[in-house]
Subunit: 342 residues, 2 copies
């Protein structure tokens, strides 16, 4: 890191005693040059700390080494955690992840996809808003850029989908709850994405299979502040005679977190001890769910598996030139996490 300042690749090539085209090859794939020249270049790199101008690198490329990651709501630790995993894996593959959050807004999602297009990313990992997505815009985008959907599916859109298997996880929880106490009712809010509906449907069929009548309690609210919705809704329901069952299965953990807070405020005891008045269960194993009072019994989605599989499939798509032929859906099973709340 000394010597005269290096301005461009030509100067760096001169300084390292290698021709510019070879240096260029090196930067696009270090393994594509002979071991001995690679060593010489990397030695020079330490002396001069030159970095190619990424803008010049990419201007004539139709596909860059950038990976776009789009999540619906970054303030939700679930997505923050997933994004973190994905970022690491992209970096390990020598790609450059760029993170975007739609912040729950359709327009934002559309803008992000628009902007992303001009970034010419090598591929995109997209967790769509879901029902609120501009389906046309997403579809158009996926046709132009190799895209893998995760978390929330949109039928037929994108090269693949990776998510968790609500059809397995919800019955797992329902059976556990029925086995250990009164059959649960289902607590939901207006669905923001297909998962919410799938979970409700899975609940209905699972509880019917066990010979019970499905009971669904729905509260209103249209923001992404799920905890607040669960709290407000829970407060109202609990104050007005309570849920139809003393066991409540929530559509997701964030809703459950709000509901637990509401129960506490009304001095309704939550838990699986005989003395408790209500049992509450969630779904997702949200990072905070182990710190509720009582800690939340839930279904653990396999963060690591979902993110690593998503990245893996995306790179398959990229290496296949943007098209796999058929759209693959991968669903991971959830695991029951028994804590104190149910």
């Amino acid at each position: 890191m000394d010597g005269p300042k290096i301005k461009n690749m030509q100067e760096f090539a001169d300084a390292s005693g290698i021709s510019r085209p070879t240096v260029s090859k090196y930067f696009n794939d270090p393994t594509s040059v002979r071991q001995s020249t690679r060593a010489r270049i990397e030695e020079a790199l330490e002396r001069f700390d030159y970095r190619p101008n990424i803008y010049a690198m990419n201007q004539n490329r139709q596909l860059t080494k950038t990976i776009g990651i789009v999540v619906p709501y970054l303030s939700d630790p679930f997505f923050a955690e997933i994004a973190r995993n994905i970022e690491r894996r992209c970096l390990a593959k020598g790609f450059w992840p760029i993170l975007f959050s739609s912040h729950g807004e359709k327009e934002q999602e559309r803008d992000i996809l628009d902007n992303l297009r001009s970034l010419k990313p090598g591929g995109v990992l997209l967790a769509p808003l879901g029902r609120r997505s501009d389906r046309m815009a997403v579809e158009r985008f996926c046709k132009a850029v190799p895209t893998v959907l995760f978390d929330s599916n949109i039928d037929g859109v994108g090269q693949a989908f990776i998510g968790s298997d609500n059809g397995q996880s919800v019955p797992l929880m329902v059976e556990y709850l029925c086995r250990t106490g009164s059959p649960p009712c289902f607590f939901e809010m207006p669905p923001v994405n297909p998962n919410a509906n799938k979970r409700r449907d899975a609940f209905v069929s699972a509880i019917q299979r066990l010979g019970h009548e499905p009971q669904i309690v729905r509260v209103e609210g249209k923001s992404w502040e799920f905890e607040q919705i669960g709290f407000d809704g829970g407060l109202k329901i609990l104050a007005e005679g309570g849920f139809p069952s003393s066991t409540v299965l929530c559509s997701n953990d964030r809703l459950a977190i709000g509901l637990i807070a509401a129960a506490y405020q009304l001095q309704i005891s939550v838990g699986r001890e005989p003395s408790s008045q209500i049992r509450i269960a969630g779904h997702d194993d949200h990072p905070f769910s182990r710190f509720t009072s009582p800690s939340l019994t839930t279904i653990a989605q396999d963060y690591a598996a979902i993110s690593s599989k998503s990245v893996e499939v995306l790179f398959d798509v990229i290496e296949a030139g943007g098209d796999l032929g058929s759209r693959k859906e991968t669903l991971f099973e959830g695991k029951l996490v028994m804590r104190a709340s149910a």
Copy 2:
């Protein structure tokens, strides 16, 4: 959105009947062209949906319209929330925010700053890791790119600092707690950034000013999973005779969230009623702090003010050509948020 495909600015200029240099001017600042030509360009834009190649746009620029946002830990909803605010404000100014998270790791932070340099951002908003930052790397970066620090200060580094005034907020809380019950002890973990130390120091002087002996309880732990640290530490302390006071002021909300969970598990009642065994207070008004059981009394940092001021100052710096002359520090006061826990 019909007609023949537009490949570059020349073709778009031809199609819209305007010269290329004028079109170029338009894209760099739509207000810099006459109203009538602007209208013609925008009309053509609707017909052809052309977008300039951002890579070609930026390759000859020493400063681009990109704003880098770097936070230490995105899974922390506090930073996710701040980032969201900042993003919006940058977009409103016609800039392009790009978000990065150090994920609590020094190497990540260094890599991000390195990569950011080759992005040639117009400016950067940086919430450094703090004590774990590679100070030299940060310093070097700030000399090369207009940078405003926020949340966590590093003396003399960057063009400005925006944060919250621990010297005001902590005494505010201490006085409240002393006025309404027994004087608090201070619950902390190994400091990850200067705020932690400032808060402890502010606690000591505030409690002494009120004529009490400062008592500090420290637990170990070196990850960014603060809740877990608070929980594990709290469990141990509460089981081994408890805190030196029946009122505990935690260094931050996440620690408090863990502590409340620990107290619950040990069936120690938390709250400000006379019947409660312990009072617990936090600091930050973390998005989840209203959903703990009981809800957490805390100090609200002014998210909106911090983010808007940060952006504002950054644009001042940018407009001043990267240097304001003197380094400005802005501290916002915290507000006491009285909830049920203390």
